[in-house]
């Protein structure tokens, strides 16, 4: 059970971090007139096209104690990123970023400008408008971001294997455990993990699509 619990712990933490990061980032991309936003937008979507091993490889290099960033983190802050749970969180946040940011960005871009302006002329700041007017009206987009980021984190393999390795109780996630058991020819255990992952992922997505069948009615 340990790999499954670890997987869901990771997915929860990653989704929470992504929500906090994703909303402001999506807001900035949706409404900023800064020229560089297209660069940021592109970077956010890179994990969609790159093989996970590429991101995993760069993270592994960046956070390796042999190089500057990894060395700095380890010697001054005592944090080891590679082959640790922290590393999995960082890798997963980067890798699932587009799954959180893109739906929220789309929700914000489709939000009627007149409602935002109506809030501004009532003397409300952009922050208050976001919190009290925009976010409550784009709940389907927020839900999509949350579910997709969560589900995608559960399904990760390449990035987490590259940066986290295969340490039981620390970095051995369900997806890695399956690979591990198959390598060891323990097909029964692998099959059990696989079945549980299928069942849980199916349930999450089924509930999500059911809730979103009439996007505006349920809220």
């Amino acid at each position: 059970m340990q790999p499954l619990i670890l997987t869901f712990q990771l997915a929860l933490i990653v989704t929470a971090i992504l929500f906090v990061l994703g909303v402001p980032l999506a807001y900035w991309i949706a409404f900023s007139r800064n020229r560089f936003k297209y660069v940021v937008e592109t970077l956010v979507s890179m994990p969609l096209v790159l093989p996970p091993t590429v991101i995993g490889f760069y993270l592994l290099i960046a956070f390796s104690p042999q190089y500057f960033l990894g060395h700095f983190l380890e010697s001054f802050l005592g944090v080891r990123v590679v082959f640790s749970f922290t590393g999995l969180v960082i890798g997963s946040v980067l890798f699932s970023l587009p799954f959180m940011v893109n739906p929220i960005k789309a929700g914000l871009q489709n939000f009627p400008l007149a409602l935002m302006e109506a809030s501004y002329v009532l003397g409300k700041s952009p922050w208050e408008t976001l919190r009290r007017v925009i976010l409550p009206n784009i709940k389907p987009a927020l839900l999509t971001g949350i579910v997709m980021a969560f589900a995608h984190t559960i399904g990760e393999f390449g990035v987490v294997l590259m940066i986290g390795g295969n340490i039981p109780g620390e970095t051995r996630l369900a997806s890695i455990a399956i690979y591990n058991e198959v390598e060891a020819l323990n097909y029964d255990t692998a099959g059990l993990y696989a079945l549980i992952l299928v069942a849980i992922s199916f349930s999450i997505l089924l509930v999500f699509y059911y809730l979103n069948r009439k996007p505006l009615k349920i809220f």
Binding site: A114, E117, S119, Y120, V121, K124, N137
Partner: protein
């Protein structure tokens, strides 16, 4: 007192135009802006509210400078806090009518006036309804209260009645007059409906392609002065029917439809949809008790 002088480039369907305005509006006046679509009426309101920035000029409201391109002063939309009623429904869909109004209050001290406003505007009993459950007219009433409830310095109405049917429209016109008489708030209303202009305002500015071409009372501006009509109405042509040597015009005047005979010279240049003035000269109507 609003003193305003501004220049703003507009992109219209027929190309670039300059909105070039220089006008003063006294405190407590009810002004209408009349003009074709694309003339710059809405842009003018948006500039006042701070939603759009002019290239140059200055805006002064009651001695306070809201915008000055030379001194680089530009009060934010929030600081100007104008009362703005948009053309389309702009109530927040996730809030009830009451929550919409409370959101607008900001300060709790205005909460007590919500009941009073709802009653005065005929919205009693709808407090708990979401906007999609009430009619277009009710939505715009709620939007009007929302714009007024925290006592803005100016009220800007951007064709708030244009999406309403005739009846709702007339009712809301009466409400706007009532509200204005009660609050005496400086009001600027955009309209391209002549009967509305006549009914609501004492002063009208006609905007054409970004410039003010005429201003004054609706009578002075629209009614041909050498016409000594005892009766004058503005209406819109619904149908032109040629019958032998005469033409029969069907006109919509207020919420009535009337048929009028016209000669070929009279209807020259008129088409269905043209705004016309219908006046009667030298006749005395019969008055009957209704």
């Amino acid at each position: 007192m609003i003193k305003l002088r501004l220049k703003k480039e507009m992109h219209t369907p027929i190309g670039k135009e300059w909105l070039d305005l220089d006008l003063n509006i006294s405190k407590g006046e009810f002004i209408t802006l009349y003009g074709e679509s694309g003339a710059g009426k809405t842009t003018f309101l948006r500039i006042l509210a701070g939603l759009t920035q002019p290239q140059e000029g200055s805006i002064e409201v009651d001695g306070e400078i809201w915008f000055d391109s030379r001194k680089k002063i530009n009060l934010s939309i929030q600081q100007r806090k104008t009362g703005f009623v948009f053309q389309e429904n702009s109530l927040f869909p996730h809030m009830t009518v009451r929550e919409n109004l409370e959101y607008a209050c900001g300060d709790k001290k205005y909460h007590s006036s919500i009941e009073e406003w709802m009653g005065a505007m005929g919205l009693k009993g709808l407090e708990g309804q979401k906007p999609d459950k009430i009619s277009g007219g009710q939505k715009q009433r709620a939007a009007l209260i929302r714009a007024l409830i925290s006592r803005p310095k100016i009220l800007l109405l951007d064709e708030p009645l244009s999406d309403l049917d005739m009846n709702a429209r007339f009712n809301l016109q009466d409400e706007i007059i009532k509200v204005y008489q009660k609050t005496k708030i400086t009001t600027i209303m955009v309209s391209h409906d002549l009967s509305e202009v006549f009914k609501l305002s004492k002063k009208v500015f006609v905007i054409d392609r970004g410039k003010i071409t005429k201003s004054g009372s609706p009578q002075e501006v629209f009614v041909n002065n050498d016409l000594s009509g005892k009766f004058k109405f503005t209406g819109e042509i619904i149908e032109i029917h040629k019958d032998g040597v005469i033409n029969i015009l069907t006109l919509s005047i207020g919420n009535h439809v009337a048929k009028v005979v016209a000669s070929d010279e009279e209807i020259f240049g008129l088409t269905v949809g043209s705004k016309v003035i219908v006046a009667a000269k030298a006749f005395n109507p019969i008055i009957l008790k209704a």
